[in-house]
């Protein structure tokens, strides 16, 4: 079995003016496609060939750097696309809203803490809102293409929200101003999808 580049659930220009079409096109058709192709090359002819991405990531500690980096890159970008929407932004509702308020005090405090995790991740990586095995929420960040599904990361669990802070995610539009990119990301967050993940 080989992995295929997932289709974007919207057009490249659908997240304008927050995320520009050129960034989306290169990010999806070059970077995400690159991770997908490299993942397929890394697992070809191995016993990973018949496994799903979730199972691969849950047992990543015994795998090569090629499987780790590209498996993470394949999964993280697919998740990232789904967690954004042209109809996004605003605040979560229902149980996710309650859990965020209970954990962080308010949505604004959550936003501040999540933004800080994203802004201070040094080098390439991701910021996460994670649902831990006991059902509680935690903010974390990981280097490069690591993610909370990997068995050897510090904060393990189900990613509810993920933000790509590799420079390729924002450099064409924001250059060195990562904080402005993070602020714009909040305008396109698909809270419906985040809530669905929280309940799953």
């Amino acid at each position: 079995m080989s992995f295929e580049l997932p289709k974007l659930p919207y057009k490249y220009d659908a997240l304008e003016p927050y995320i520009d079409a050129k960034t989306m096109e290169i990010h999806h058709s070059k970077h995400h496609a690159g991770y997908t192709n490299n993942l397929n090359a890394a697992i070809a002819g191995t016993d990973l060939d018949k496994k799903g991405i979730g199972e691969i990531l849950a047992n990543i500690s015994g795998q090569s750097a090629g499987v780790r980096n590209n498996g993470g890159g394949y999964y993280n970008h697919d998740l990232f696309w789904k967690l954004m929407s042209p109809d996004g932004g605003g605040e979560p509702t229902g149980e996710l809203q309650k859990a965020i308020n209970d954990t962080f005090g308010s949505f604004e405090q959550f936003k501040e803490e999540f933004s800080k995790a994203a802004a201070t991740r040094f080098g390439s990586g991701w910021a996460w809102l994670v649902k831990l095995s006991d059902g509680s929420l935690k903010i974390s960040s990981t280097p490069n293409q690591d993610n909370p599904l990997m068995d050897d990361v510090e904060v393990k669990g189900t990613p509810i929200l993920g933000l790509d802070v590799w420079e390729h995610a924002y450099y064409l539009k924001f250059q060195n101003r990562r904080v402005d990119y993070i602020s714009d990301f909040f305008e396109v967050i698909n809270w419906t999808e985040a809530s669905r993940r929280f309940h799953s």
């Binding site: 290169i26 070059k30 390439s124 990586g125 590799w166 420079e167 390729h168 064409l172 250059q175 060195n176």
Partner: protein
């Protein structure tokens, strides 16, 4: 000691078409400057306040290390360019590269491959060990080979901010351009002063 952004020995548009003015405006004017500013802010009131840059790199960690090393790394990178650069190193360094890698072309190929395959943000270095034996090493994020008792001779920045405005995802294209802007006189001098 207050650290300062070093003046570049060339104009910001001088490396075109290999490295654009716009890239240097951000890379030197914003990123390099921010590392200098952050470092100065972080060391105030610490034992590193009056230390020289290399000393800080060898003895610090966390945010102070990251910013100090990035100040050094960027200065080391920017100082080894010139307008109408490129070509090959002079005899002494060339002989050493031939001795270690087989030929200048093979060195170039191996160094470029290290740059293309470094995952995430980081740097590629030509270094010498304590016996002045040459090798190519890759470091992640701000890491600097001096911390491993290796002496840096030349470096390539493969953080995406070094090339994304010019070549986007095509990092190998940026690496090709990098060779065309190198100032081998500076790199040779570093080698001769090992």
């Amino acid at each position: 000691m207050k650290h300062e952004l070093p003046q570049l020995p060339y104009a910001l548009d001088a490396l075109e078409p290999h490295i654009s003015k716009r890239t240097l405006e951000f890379h030197y004017g914003k990123h390099h400057q921010a590392y200098v500013n952050n470092l100065n802010n972080l060391i105030g009131g610490t034992p590193f306040e009056n230390a020289d840059l290399v000393d800080i790199i060898l003895k610090s960690d966390g945010g102070i290390f990251n910013n100090a090393a990035q100040v050094f790394n960027h200065t080391f990178y920017f100082m080894a360019f010139k307008p109408k650069g490129g070509g090959k190193p002079g005899n002494k360094l060339n002989d050493a590269l031939v001795h270690t890698f087989g030929s200048f072309e093979k060195f170039k190929e191996e160094f470029s491959k290290a740059g293309a395959t470094l995952f995430g943000s980081g740097w590629v270095w030509l270094v010498a060990d304590s016996d002045n034996k040459l090798s190519i090493v890759k470091t992640s994020n701000a890491a600097n080979p001096m911390c491993d008792n290796l002496k840096p001779i030349m470096t390539l920045d493969v953080w995406e901010h070094a090339y994304y405005l010019d070549t986007q995802n095509a990092r190998p294209k940026y690496i090709e351009n990098f060779w065309e802007a190198l100032n081998w006189e500076v790199i040779e001098k570093r080698f001769e002063n090992l």
